[in-house]
């Protein structure tokens, strides 16, 4: 088993090179089996960073595996996170039915702090329900009931220029707004409204909760701004174009 490790992660990454991606062969994509941890780890890597639950079909397409293989890897991971050994004979079968209740035979490890859940046909990793209280306390720590000035200004720009990408809001405000946009989304004040057909960037718009808080019926009721303010036309979008 030791053979799988010697790959110093640094070196390997370099070999693959930053631009190995685009032209890395039309047909396949990376050979999963040659990567440390194989297909299972690749699937984990994806599950760990996706925000929206992903369907087995989408995962299979992205990983270049069959849906069947993905299904059984998902089941395997789910069991493993729940504290069952991977190689328990009944692994696959059991996981289909008793996902979370556990304590039948086959489990001999402590469960992880996260779990893999299948919600409405898609899979995503969540923090384990048992720790909800602790996690909730951590999340609340330092949270305020007030929006920061930066958040308010960002919200104002989005409200008046929606739908708009983060890059444009950044260009208007002159600072990076990624984390503020995340806060506003979390607060339910703005939401994803699809992607820009040209740049592929996510566009944001205000929500009905925002209207509620403002006490207005629609964004058309927002007070008019002075007509002299620049629109979005002149704003250079720095994510595209290699002009910097």
């Amino acid at each position: 088993m030791n053979e799988r490790l010697p790959e110093a992660p640094r070196g390997e990454a370099e070999d693959a090179g930053p631009d190995a991606g685009p032209e890395a062969g039309p047909d396949t994509g990376p050979d999963l089996a040659s990567l440390p941890g194989g297909a299972r780890a690749a699937l984990e890597a994806v599950l760990m960073v996706i925000d929206e639950p992903a369907t087995p079909t989408a995962l299979a397409a992205g990983l270049n595996l069959t849906v069947d293989v993905v299904d059984s890897l998902l089941a395997e991971l789910q069991r493993e996170y729940n504290g069952y050994t991977v190689n328990a004979p009944d692994a696959v079968v059991a996981s289909q039915t008793s996902s979370n209740t556990g304590n039948t035979d086959g489990n001999n490890a402590a469960p992880r702090g996260f779990e893999l859940r299948n919600i409405a046909g898609g899979w995503r990793i969540y923090s384990r329900a048992e720790f909800a209280e602790i996690v909730g306390g951590f999340v609340l720590e330092g949270q305020t009931a007030r929006l920061t000035q930066a958040a308010l200004e960002t919200l104002a720009v989005i409200a008046y220029r929606q739908p708009v990408s983060r890059a444009r809001v950044s260009a208007i405000r002159g600072v990076n707004v990624d984390s503020v946009v995340r806060t506003l989304t979390q607060r339910g004040l703005i939401e994803d409204s699809g992607t820009d057909p040209e740049s592929g960037a996510i566009l944001y718009r205000t929500t009905s909760y925002f209207l509620e808080r403002m006490g207005i019926g629609s964004t058309a009721e927002l007070p008019q701004l002075s007509p002299h303010l620049p629109g979005l036309e002149g704003i250079e979008e720095f994510y595209d174009a290699g002009r910097m």
Partner: protein, 298 residues
């Protein structure tokens, strides 16, 4: 994880040699005009160009054979001039400063080698040392820039977990305090959308006291006086200046006018009186023509 300077792949920074260093490529397709022009813009500044030229000739920075490099540098600048409008003045000036220094140095080399005695020679030596010191410094930064670039690319291969808060946690967040009326909110938007003024680069003048004097205004005043046709001496033109600042402003204004070919100068004797006469037709010039550079300055 710390960047390892020893890492060979990281250390192999952008090869200067790779940078197309030939302004007029005798080598291959670069000889064609369009290719040539595209390649010109690959340098990110005069030092970059100079480094490119030096490494093209495989010279040590500290002992460069200046004449070859100088000639190519000048050639490059000519090429840039041909590029025309994209060539911004403040970029050009840095190139020109360095070209001038290089030319000085080349000229000094062409003279018979003598002892370094007079001040000019010493100044030249200093100019050379300074130029090479700056070049070395730039080279160092260019190398670490290469490392930073490759680290950023390497790191971009790792994606952080950064998922939206699960619904039941988001529900725990304290209810938002919202006290903004739609009007206040619109005020915020106005402020955020208003085009920002460029931040000052350098030199605050706030501590200097003195009434702001506008070069443009002074130019207009001078124009009105000279436009009548009678030549006036500089002395006469500044006779009513209430402060040195105004004198300076009028002098600058005259230079501007001269540049716009609105006035001409006569000076019969060295250090004698400077006479100014109007050369533009009387309606052909207005202070609006003045370049922007003085506009916002006090």
């Amino acid at each position: 994880m710390p960047v390892q300077p020893a890492d060979p792949a990281v250390a192999a920074v952008p090869e200067v040699a790779e940078v197309p260093a030939t302004p007029e490529g005798p080598d291959g397709p670069a000889g064609k005009k369009p290719g040539f022009e595209v390649r010109l813009v690959n340098f990110t500044g005069p030092f970059d160009l100079l480094l490119g030229l030096i490494s093209k000739h495989q010279l040590d920075i500290t002992e460069v054979a200046l004449s070859t490099v100088t000639d190519e540098f000048i050639k490059y600048i000519r090429g840039l001039q041909r590029l025309g409008e994209e060539w911004a003045l403040d970029e050009a000036s840095e190139f020109l400063v360095i070209a001038a220094t290089l030319l000085d140095l080349k000229a000094a080399r062409l003279l018979p080698a003598g002892e370094v005695e007079d001040e000019e020679d010493i100044a030249l030596l200093e100019a050379r040392d300074l130029l090479f010191a700056r070049l070395l410094q730039y080279k160092a930064f260019k190398q670490v820039a290469g490392m930073i670039g490759s680290t950023l690319e390497l790191e971009a291969r790792r994606f952080p977990r950064q998922v939206a808060l699960e619904g039941h946690f988001a529900a725990l967040l304290p209810e938002l305090l919202w006290r903004h009326t739609p009007e206040q909110f619109a005020g915020l938007a106005e402020a955020a959308l208003k085009p920002k003024e460029a931040a000052p680069t350098e030199v605050g003048l706030a501590h200097l006291h003195g009434t702001p004097v506008s070069v443009k205004e002074q130019a207009e005043l001078l124009g009105n006086r000279l436009r009548l046709g009678t030549p006036l001496t500089f002395r006469a033109l500044i006779a009513d200046a209430e402060s040195t600042l105004v004198v300076v402003a009028r002098f600058l204004a005259l230079l501007e006018l001269f540049r716009d070919r609105a006035v001409g100068f006569d000076q019969l004797l060295p250090l004698g009186d400077l006479t100014v006469h109007w050369t533009a037709d009387s309606h052909g010039w207005s202070s609006e023509n003045l370049s922007e550079e003085y506009e916002d300055q006090p």
